[in-house]
Assembly symmetry: C2
Homo-oligomer: 145 residues x 2
DNA sequence: CTTGACCTTCCAATGATGGGAAGGCCTATC
DNA sequence: GATAGGCCTTCCCATCATTGGAAGGTCAAG
Protein backbone atom coordinates (compact mmCIF):
# COMPACT_ATOMS: atom_id res chain seq x y z
CA UNK A 1 0.00 0.00 0.00
CA UNK A 2 1.05 3.60 -0.53
CA UNK A 3 1.95 6.05 2.19
CA UNK A 4 -1.49 7.65 2.21
CA UNK A 5 -3.21 4.39 2.99
CA UNK A 6 -0.58 3.48 5.55
CA UNK A 7 -1.21 6.83 7.17
CA UNK A 8 -4.94 6.24 7.25
CA UNK A 9 -4.53 2.73 8.63
CA UNK A 10 -2.03 3.69 11.28
CA UNK A 11 -3.19 7.09 12.38
CA UNK A 12 0.24 8.56 11.65
CA UNK A 13 0.27 11.31 9.04
CA UNK A 14 2.16 10.74 5.81
CA UNK A 15 4.35 13.69 6.72
CA UNK A 16 5.34 12.08 9.98
CA UNK A 17 5.93 8.69 8.40
CA UNK A 18 8.46 10.27 6.06
CA UNK A 19 9.97 12.15 8.97
CA UNK A 20 10.31 9.00 11.06
CA UNK A 21 12.00 7.30 8.15
CA UNK A 22 14.33 10.21 7.60
CA UNK A 23 15.39 10.35 11.23
CA UNK A 24 15.92 6.61 11.38
CA UNK A 25 13.13 5.78 13.79
CA UNK A 26 11.77 3.37 11.22
CA UNK A 27 13.63 1.59 8.43
CA UNK A 28 13.34 2.89 4.89
CA UNK A 29 10.15 1.72 3.28
CA UNK A 30 10.19 -0.27 0.07
CA UNK A 31 9.72 1.60 -3.17
CA UNK A 32 7.54 0.91 -6.17
CA UNK A 33 8.98 1.11 -9.67
CA UNK A 34 7.95 4.74 -9.86
CA UNK A 35 9.48 5.67 -6.53
CA UNK A 36 6.43 5.54 -4.29
CA UNK A 37 6.99 4.22 -0.78
CA UNK A 38 5.23 0.92 -0.21
CA UNK A 39 4.06 -0.43 3.12
CA UNK A 40 3.09 -3.85 4.36
CA UNK A 41 0.74 -4.82 7.15
CA UNK A 42 3.76 -5.24 9.39
CA UNK A 43 4.86 -1.72 8.62
CA UNK A 44 1.44 -0.41 9.55
CA UNK A 45 1.59 -2.35 12.78
CA UNK A 46 4.88 -0.65 13.58
CA UNK A 47 3.40 2.75 12.80
CA UNK A 48 0.46 2.02 15.05
CA UNK A 49 2.91 1.04 17.76
CA UNK A 50 4.58 4.40 17.36
CA UNK A 51 1.31 6.23 17.48
CA UNK A 52 0.18 4.51 20.63
CA UNK A 53 3.51 5.25 22.27
CA UNK A 54 3.20 8.89 21.29
CA UNK A 55 -0.31 8.94 22.71
CA UNK A 56 1.23 7.85 25.98
CA UNK A 57 3.54 10.82 25.81
CA UNK A 58 6.76 9.01 24.96
CA UNK A 59 9.30 11.10 23.13
CA UNK A 60 10.52 9.85 19.81
CA UNK A 61 13.86 8.88 21.28
CA UNK A 62 12.18 6.66 23.86
CA UNK A 63 9.97 5.20 21.17
CA UNK A 64 13.11 4.17 19.36
CA UNK A 65 14.18 2.21 22.42
CA UNK A 66 10.73 0.70 22.75
CA UNK A 67 10.78 -0.35 19.12
CA UNK A 68 14.18 -1.94 19.57
CA UNK A 69 12.89 -3.93 22.52
CA UNK A 70 9.76 -4.82 20.63
CA UNK A 71 11.83 -6.30 17.83
CA UNK A 72 14.25 -8.04 20.17
CA UNK A 73 12.74 -11.41 20.92
CA UNK A 74 15.30 -11.99 23.65
CA UNK A 75 14.51 -8.73 25.42
CA UNK A 76 14.02 -8.57 29.14
CA UNK A 77 10.70 -7.18 30.20
CA UNK A 78 12.56 -5.35 32.95
CA UNK A 79 13.98 -3.03 30.29
CA UNK A 80 10.55 -2.23 28.97
CA UNK A 81 9.24 -1.67 32.45
CA UNK A 82 12.10 0.68 33.20
CA UNK A 83 11.21 2.82 30.21
CA UNK A 84 7.58 2.86 31.21
CA UNK A 85 8.40 3.82 34.75
CA UNK A 86 10.73 6.57 33.63
CA UNK A 87 7.90 7.89 31.50
CA UNK A 88 5.51 7.70 34.43
CA UNK A 89 7.98 9.56 36.62
CA UNK A 90 8.46 12.28 34.01
CA UNK A 91 4.73 12.73 33.58
CA UNK A 92 4.18 12.85 37.32
CA UNK A 93 6.85 15.49 37.65
CA UNK A 94 5.18 17.66 35.06
CA UNK A 95 1.77 17.09 36.58
CA UNK A 96 2.99 18.22 39.97
CA UNK A 97 4.55 21.29 38.43
CA UNK A 98 1.34 22.22 36.67
CA UNK A 99 -0.75 21.51 39.72
CA UNK A 100 1.35 23.97 41.61
CA UNK A 101 0.74 26.56 38.92
CA UNK A 102 -2.97 25.90 39.07
CA UNK A 103 -2.96 26.22 42.85
CA UNK A 104 -1.23 29.58 42.66
CA UNK A 105 -3.43 30.87 39.89
CA UNK A 106 -6.57 29.64 41.52
CA UNK A 107 -5.65 31.28 44.75
CA UNK A 108 -4.96 34.56 42.99
CA UNK A 109 -8.06 34.39 40.83
CA UNK A 110 -10.23 33.77 43.85
CA UNK A 111 -8.90 36.96 45.37
CA UNK A 112 -9.76 38.90 42.24
CA UNK A 113 -13.12 40.60 42.22
CA UNK A 114 -13.36 40.18 38.45
CA UNK A 115 -15.41 43.28 37.92
CA UNK A 116 -14.96 46.67 36.30
CA UNK A 117 -12.47 47.92 38.88
CA UNK A 118 -8.78 47.88 38.00
CA UNK A 119 -7.41 46.54 41.29
CA UNK A 120 -6.30 42.97 40.85
CA UNK A 121 -4.27 40.68 43.09
CA UNK A 122 -3.20 38.65 40.06
CA UNK A 123 -1.37 41.60 38.54
CA UNK A 124 -0.15 42.62 41.97
CA UNK A 125 1.41 39.19 42.40
CA UNK A 126 3.02 39.20 38.97
CA UNK A 127 4.34 42.63 39.69
CA UNK A 128 6.38 41.08 42.44
CA UNK A 129 4.55 41.02 45.70
CA UNK A 130 6.94 38.20 46.56
CA UNK A 131 4.52 35.46 47.59
CA UNK A 132 4.95 32.58 45.16
CA UNK A 133 2.35 30.21 46.51
CA UNK A 134 0.88 31.64 49.62
CA UNK A 135 1.10 28.73 52.05
CA UNK A 136 -2.45 28.94 53.30
CA UNK A 137 -5.33 31.29 53.48
CA UNK A 138 -5.05 32.15 57.16
CA UNK A 139 -6.61 35.52 56.82
CA UNK A 140 -4.44 36.96 59.56
CA UNK A 141 -2.15 39.93 59.19
CA UNK A 142 0.36 37.35 58.06
CA UNK A 143 2.19 38.69 55.08
CA UNK A 144 4.16 36.07 53.39
CA UNK A 145 7.93 36.09 53.44
CA UNK B 1 22.21 49.25 33.67
CA UNK B 2 23.33 46.92 30.90
CA UNK B 3 21.48 43.85 29.70
CA UNK B 4 23.60 41.48 31.77
CA UNK B 5 22.71 43.17 34.99
CA UNK B 6 19.07 43.46 33.98
CA UNK B 7 19.13 39.74 33.30
CA UNK B 8 20.62 39.00 36.68
CA UNK B 9 18.15 41.26 38.46
CA UNK B 10 15.10 39.93 36.66
CA UNK B 11 15.88 36.26 36.24
CA UNK B 12 15.35 36.54 32.49
CA UNK B 13 18.36 35.62 30.39
CA UNK B 14 19.94 38.30 28.22
CA UNK B 15 19.13 36.14 25.22
CA UNK B 16 15.47 36.13 26.09
CA UNK B 17 15.39 39.85 26.81
CA UNK B 18 16.63 40.52 23.31
CA UNK B 19 14.14 38.01 21.95
CA UNK B 20 11.24 39.63 23.79
CA UNK B 21 12.28 42.99 22.43
CA UNK B 22 12.61 41.63 18.92
CA UNK B 23 9.17 40.05 19.00
CA UNK B 24 7.58 43.15 20.41
CA UNK B 25 6.63 41.76 23.81
CA UNK B 26 8.58 44.57 25.40
CA UNK B 27 9.42 47.98 23.96
CA UNK B 28 12.89 48.62 22.59
CA UNK B 29 15.33 49.37 25.36
CA UNK B 30 17.27 52.59 25.41
CA UNK B 31 20.76 52.57 23.99
CA UNK B 32 24.01 53.93 25.30
CA UNK B 33 26.29 56.00 23.08
CA UNK B 34 28.11 52.84 22.09
CA UNK B 35 24.97 50.90 21.26
CA UNK B 36 24.52 48.92 24.48
CA UNK B 37 20.94 48.40 25.63
CA UNK B 38 20.23 50.22 28.88
CA UNK B 39 17.61 49.28 31.43
CA UNK B 40 15.92 51.10 34.26
CA UNK B 41 14.42 49.75 37.45
CA UNK B 42 11.01 49.90 35.80
CA UNK B 43 12.28 47.79 32.94
CA UNK B 44 13.56 45.19 35.35
CA UNK B 45 10.21 45.17 37.09
CA UNK B 46 8.57 44.45 33.76
CA UNK B 47 11.01 41.65 33.08
CA UNK B 48 10.30 40.15 36.47
CA UNK B 49 6.61 40.36 35.68
CA UNK B 50 7.26 38.38 32.52
CA UNK B 51 9.30 35.81 34.35
CA UNK B 52 6.67 35.25 36.98
CA UNK B 53 4.01 34.90 34.32
CA UNK B 54 6.17 32.37 32.52
CA UNK B 55 6.64 30.48 35.76
CA UNK B 56 2.88 30.21 35.91
CA UNK B 57 2.91 28.64 32.48
CA UNK B 58 1.51 31.56 30.49
CA UNK B 59 2.50 31.61 26.87
CA UNK B 60 4.25 34.68 25.60
CA UNK B 61 1.16 35.77 23.71
CA UNK B 62 -0.90 35.74 26.90
CA UNK B 63 1.87 37.56 28.72
CA UNK B 64 1.53 40.31 26.15
CA UNK B 65 -2.10 40.69 27.10
CA UNK B 66 -1.26 40.64 30.79
CA UNK B 67 1.35 43.32 30.27
CA UNK B 68 -1.14 45.46 28.39
CA UNK B 69 -3.60 45.18 31.26
CA UNK B 70 -0.87 45.84 33.76
CA UNK B 71 -0.03 49.09 32.03
CA UNK B 72 -3.65 50.09 31.57
CA UNK B 73 -4.66 51.95 34.67
CA UNK B 74 -8.29 51.84 33.61
CA UNK B 75 -8.31 48.10 33.11
CA UNK B 76 -11.07 45.94 34.46
CA UNK B 77 -9.94 43.21 36.78
CA UNK B 78 -12.47 40.96 35.07
CA UNK B 79 -10.21 40.90 32.03
CA UNK B 80 -7.24 39.81 34.09
CA UNK B 81 -9.31 37.19 35.82
CA UNK B 82 -10.50 35.84 32.50
CA UNK B 83 -6.93 35.35 31.35
CA UNK B 84 -6.03 33.63 34.60
CA UNK B 85 -9.00 31.34 34.39
CA UNK B 86 -8.27 30.46 30.80
CA UNK B 87 -4.76 29.57 31.90
CA UNK B 88 -6.12 27.45 34.74
CA UNK B 89 -8.45 25.67 32.36
CA UNK B 90 -5.65 24.96 29.91
CA UNK B 91 -3.41 23.61 32.63
CA UNK B 92 -6.19 21.43 34.01
CA UNK B 93 -6.85 20.03 30.58
CA UNK B 94 -3.22 19.07 30.17
CA UNK B 95 -3.08 17.64 33.67
CA UNK B 96 -6.05 15.43 33.00
CA UNK B 97 -4.52 14.26 29.76
CA UNK B 98 -1.28 13.36 31.47
CA UNK B 99 -3.03 11.70 34.36
CA UNK B 100 -4.78 9.48 31.90
CA UNK B 101 -1.42 8.57 30.38
CA UNK B 102 -0.03 7.82 33.81
CA UNK B 103 -3.03 5.66 34.65
CA UNK B 104 -2.61 3.62 31.50
CA UNK B 105 1.14 3.27 31.90
CA UNK B 106 0.87 2.44 35.54
CA UNK B 107 -1.66 -0.24 34.85
CA UNK B 108 0.50 -1.74 32.14
CA UNK B 109 3.67 -1.51 34.19
CA UNK B 110 2.02 -3.24 37.11
CA UNK B 111 1.15 -6.12 34.84
CA UNK B 112 4.76 -6.40 33.69
CA UNK B 113 6.91 -8.86 35.58
CA UNK B 114 9.97 -6.70 35.00
CA UNK B 115 12.36 -9.60 34.97
CA UNK B 116 14.58 -11.35 32.44
CA UNK B 117 11.68 -12.81 30.48
CA UNK B 118 10.64 -11.16 27.23
CA UNK B 119 6.86 -11.27 27.68
CA UNK B 120 5.59 -7.84 28.44
CA UNK B 121 2.06 -6.46 28.55
CA UNK B 122 3.38 -2.98 27.86
CA UNK B 123 4.71 -3.95 24.47
CA UNK B 124 1.65 -6.09 23.87
CA UNK B 125 -0.53 -3.06 24.43
CA UNK B 126 1.52 -0.82 22.20
CA UNK B 127 1.41 -3.50 19.56
CA UNK B 128 -2.30 -2.97 19.43
CA UNK B 129 -4.08 -5.35 21.72
CA UNK B 130 -6.87 -2.84 21.41
CA UNK B 131 -7.56 -2.35 25.11
CA UNK B 132 -6.56 1.18 25.98
CA UNK B 133 -6.80 0.63 29.70
CA UNK B 134 -7.39 -3.05 30.01
CA UNK B 135 -10.14 -3.50 32.58
CA UNK B 136 -8.53 -6.36 34.42
CA UNK B 137 -5.58 -8.72 34.32
CA UNK B 138 -7.23 -11.94 33.24
CA UNK B 139 -4.05 -13.92 32.81
CA UNK B 140 -5.20 -15.25 29.46
CA UNK B 141 -3.35 -17.54 27.10
CA UNK B 142 -0.41 -15.21 26.91
CA UNK B 143 2.01 -15.09 24.02
CA UNK B 144 1.93 -12.06 21.89
CA UNK B 145 1.55 -12.36 18.13
C1' DC C 1 -5.77 13.17 -23.34
C1' DT C 2 -7.28 15.44 -19.48
C1' DT C 3 -8.45 15.73 -14.75
C1' DG C 4 -7.81 15.09 -10.11
C1' DA C 5 -5.93 12.57 -6.54
C1' DC C 6 -1.93 10.85 -5.12
C1' DC C 7 3.06 10.69 -4.66
C1' DT C 8 7.98 12.71 -4.59
C1' DT C 9 11.60 16.12 -2.64
C1' DC C 10 12.84 20.41 -0.64
C1' DC C 11 12.20 24.47 2.15
C1' DA C 12 10.07 27.01 5.81
C1' DA C 13 7.56 27.97 10.02
C1' DT C 14 6.01 27.06 14.62
C1' DG C 15 7.54 28.49 20.37
C1' DA C 16 10.82 29.36 23.64
C1' DT C 17 15.25 28.72 24.46
C1' DG C 18 20.27 27.91 24.16
C1' DG C 19 24.85 27.89 21.73
C1' DG C 20 28.28 30.00 19.33
C1' DA C 21 31.04 33.02 16.08
C1' DA C 22 32.82 37.48 14.71
C1' DG C 23 33.57 41.78 16.06
C1' DG C 24 33.13 46.19 19.01
C1' DC C 25 33.37 48.34 23.77
C1' DC C 26 34.89 49.11 28.59
C1' DT C 27 37.72 48.89 32.54
C1' DA C 28 41.52 47.55 35.32
C1' DT C 29 46.11 46.67 35.59
C1' DC C 30 50.83 47.07 34.12
C1' DG D 1 49.29 53.94 26.37
C1' DA D 2 48.80 49.02 25.73
C1' DT D 3 46.82 44.77 26.76
C1' DA D 4 43.64 41.38 28.86
C1' DG D 5 39.32 39.63 29.61
C1' DG D 6 34.66 40.53 30.33
C1' DC D 7 30.81 42.54 28.54
C1' DC D 8 28.10 43.93 24.61
C1' DT D 9 26.41 43.76 19.60
C1' DT D 10 24.30 41.14 15.50
C1' DC D 11 23.58 36.99 12.95
C1' DC D 12 23.03 32.19 12.27
C1' DC D 13 21.98 27.57 13.82
C1' DA D 14 19.81 23.81 16.70
C1' DT D 15 16.30 21.94 19.40
C1' DC D 16 11.39 18.84 19.10
C1' DA D 17 7.44 17.15 16.66
C1' DT D 18 4.59 18.71 13.45
C1' DT D 19 2.36 21.15 9.72
C1' DG D 20 2.24 23.77 5.44
C1' DG D 21 3.32 24.67 0.87
C1' DA D 22 5.59 24.72 -3.80
C1' DA D 23 7.16 22.38 -7.88
C1' DG D 24 6.89 18.51 -10.29
C1' DG D 25 6.14 13.26 -11.36
C1' DT D 26 2.55 9.23 -11.42
C1' DC D 27 -1.68 6.85 -11.65
C1' DA D 28 -6.51 5.68 -12.58
C1' DA D 29 -10.86 6.94 -14.44
C1' DG D 30 -13.52 9.17 -17.75
Amino acid sequence: MNIGEAAKNSGVSAKMIRYYEQTGLIPSAGRSASGYRTYTGTDVQMLRFIRRARDLGFQVEAIGELLALWRDRSRQSADVKRLAQAQIAGLRRKIIEMESMVATLDHLAQGCSGDHRPDCPILADLEGEASLVAPACHSGPGFNR
